[in-house]
Amino acid sequence: MRLHVVKRDHCPLWKKACLYLLAVLSALVLGGILLLAMGVDPLAYYSRMFTMGMVGNKIAYKSMENYLKVFVPLAVTSVALSLAFKMRFWNIGGEGQFIVGAIAAATVAFQAGPVLPQGVTLVLMCLAAMVCAGVYGSIAAVLKVKFGTNETLMTLMLNYVALYFLTFLGETKADWNFYLDETSVRPIFANFGKTVSFPAFPIGKFGLNLCVILTFVLGVLVFVYLKYTKQGYEIAVVGDSAGTAHYAGMKVNTIVLRTVFLSACLIGLAAAFKVGTAGILSTAITDDVGWTGIIVAWLAQMNTAVIFLVSALIGMLRYGSTVAAATFSQVDSSFANMLQGAILFLVLAADFFIRFQIVPVKKGGKANGNG
């Protein structure tokens, strides 16, 4: 019997879910085998990781707060990237846009923080981060629209330009450099957490940060934007067929620019959230959300609700592994990266079986030739 691969027209939802679940489980099993080989009980490790150390812990609320600090930038960045991806614009410059947003937000915090009321400063931080990141992201879009420059490679390059600019700020002692701690001889970033920080609403001991609420509000807004508004409709048409959009009288270039700007703006907002809760810049400020967000948005097939789910899971994996590393000292926290990689590889493989199916070739048929 011969087999061959054909494209699937449609895959039922339950089958999709099962395949993805199977992929994740297999990756966990592979990771488990590795843990076993190291003499670690995989079940104990995984339960520690996925509960993020909250079970049987008096300060579980702290873990939850910390987890949300990982979740918020990732979710916002992924949602932001999904806007561009939906239009088939491969913005892999999330890292760079995040950094530019972070610098802008920090600038406002340092300059306006001591003078203005905290609420005003926070709003200004968000706005500055959005505008700066948006403009930075638009560079690649403008070039793409004007000259057809490959946006994947262009945004990639701009990531590093931004990163080294941030490094420059972080390593250069100078009179003008208000980002650094003046009291330190060695160049280290100054902390503004005392003057400006996103407020949290206490629920018992747990503090629900404003950013978390805003993140969910943003999720709903983006969902509605993509699904029900004219601009969202335009994004869908341009992503599906630019020729058709053009013909329907849409200004395709304007739509591309607008959407990429918006996408980068939201990444800037994610950066403002991050900086506004951390209270300090750092060269590792992005926590790789620019990269991870790409994977999250794509895995979720640009569906806003699913993006929240996937971000929650990936965030759990990332934060959980650092928690677990505290208990299981022999397992490095980079285990999470490996596990994340393995999960993704297997999910990519599972995706194949969702898009294609393998069928046997039947022999025979009526033998009434025309010879």
């Binding site: 004219k230 599906d240 058709t244 070739v361 039947k362």
Partner: protein, 539 residues
Amino acid sequence: MAQQPNAIEMRGITKTFGSVVANQDVNLTLRQGEILALLGENGSGKTTLMNMLSGIYKPDAGEILVEGKAVSIDSPQDAKRLGIGMVHQHFKLVDVFSAADNIWMGKEKAGFRLKKDRYEEIRSMAQKFGFDLDPEKKVRNMAVSEKQTLEIIKVLYYGAKVIILDEPTAVLTVQEIQKLFGVLRRMKEEGHSIIIITHKLNEVMDISDRVAILRKGEYITTVDTASTNEQQLTEYMVGRKIDLNIQRPVVEKKRPLLEIRDLTIRNDEGAVAIDHVSFYIRGGEILGVAGIAGCGQKELCEAIAGLRPIQSGLMIHKGDNIVGLPPKAILEKGISMSFIPEDRLGMGLAPSLSITDNMILKNYASAKGPFVDRKGGREDALRVIQELEVVTPSTETPVRRLSGGNVQKVLLGREIKAGPNVIVTAYPVRGLDINSSYAIYHILNQQKQDGVGILFVGEDLDVMMALCDKIMVLCHGKVMGVVHAHKTTKEELGLMMTGALDLSNKYEDKPAGYAKDTNISAQELEQLQRQREEKGEEE
């Protein structure tokens, strides 16, 4: 004498793409040393069937015998080894390679090093087969006929005994077609067995020994060419005698709606695609545009719709100049375009979106507020589905999942819904079965009776002669003349299409394509004149 085994035998071949059945239980036999024409309408599954011989597709069911032995063709490599070569309709060539390298890359024992003498070897080999070929010429610099020659040489060089040609004449001029047929006859004499895919009957009668006919993916029959005629073949092909008496309602003539004067357009490569073309469309008439594929039809349609900048000339709609207007403004003037490109879904429809979402494509912006009006879209979708008998599970089905005929109905339905006064439609029946085609003709005629002016870019001359009022013939971007459809003959059109006959200056009192009762103002004509003079100074 023992009977020679057949070169190819296909038995019970079935192939589906998702829910679309491309071939259903097809049988086909190719004898040694014959030319078999594979005849069928667009979309009847000819290419799919041949792609299973060349190893591009694998059949879902059925078996293939080569010289009497059952084989399994899993890849083009297998096909090559079995001596089967195919010249695809869309050439499979590497643009940046030279002619020689395009052949050399598939050579079995080519040696490790690329030597300069490969050019000489390819040149002399081509000469041996009777072709003139510059082996060092890059494919991107070649004309279409050169590329086809290269494809044929390639197949011969790999030692193919069975040669399949997919619509080889579609892109050629008459002279080139005759030359090609000469080549095919010579190859036949040398013992090759040939399958030629076409839907042109005169070519079938001219070149083939036998004809196999497919209809809607099913095998109908095979007949000897000598014992059949075009009438009979047509019947086999379409299932019943074609009543080409497509209605041509007579409508009272109106003033010109759209006037094109001295229009010049360049294509994407910067070459002149439309060369000083003038014509006009009146309300209540269908103007056909005939020409070999790629003679500027696409560029012309795009320019009228505002999608392509023009070099010079005037486009006047009801007295207003529409040159330089954005596509949206042109739409608002009531000029609608439905261009059916080869993949059918590229322009005009967003394939992944639902019928509803495609209905609102052109008027979504007119809804109040920031939100789209899907309710109205759904109502429109329901109306189109009912009135044009679109077969679909629901209004929310992605257009991609509909069959070709239904896709076209959705497209035309939306265009008509907007109440246009000029419809530009290109290949609206491409890939459709007869019944769907008639439905489309009917829609167009209705529009015509309502006073709409229609520009119909078509392929099938029979259809155009029956449907259109006048036919404009293009050849390499130039107008060869505009003729009355009921007065002309197919031969005349054919000669014009190939540039052998130029009727553009037939009426000496008035330049061709200028309406007597023109809406073009003196001022605009002056402007045009100035444009010309400026051009003249430049040159």
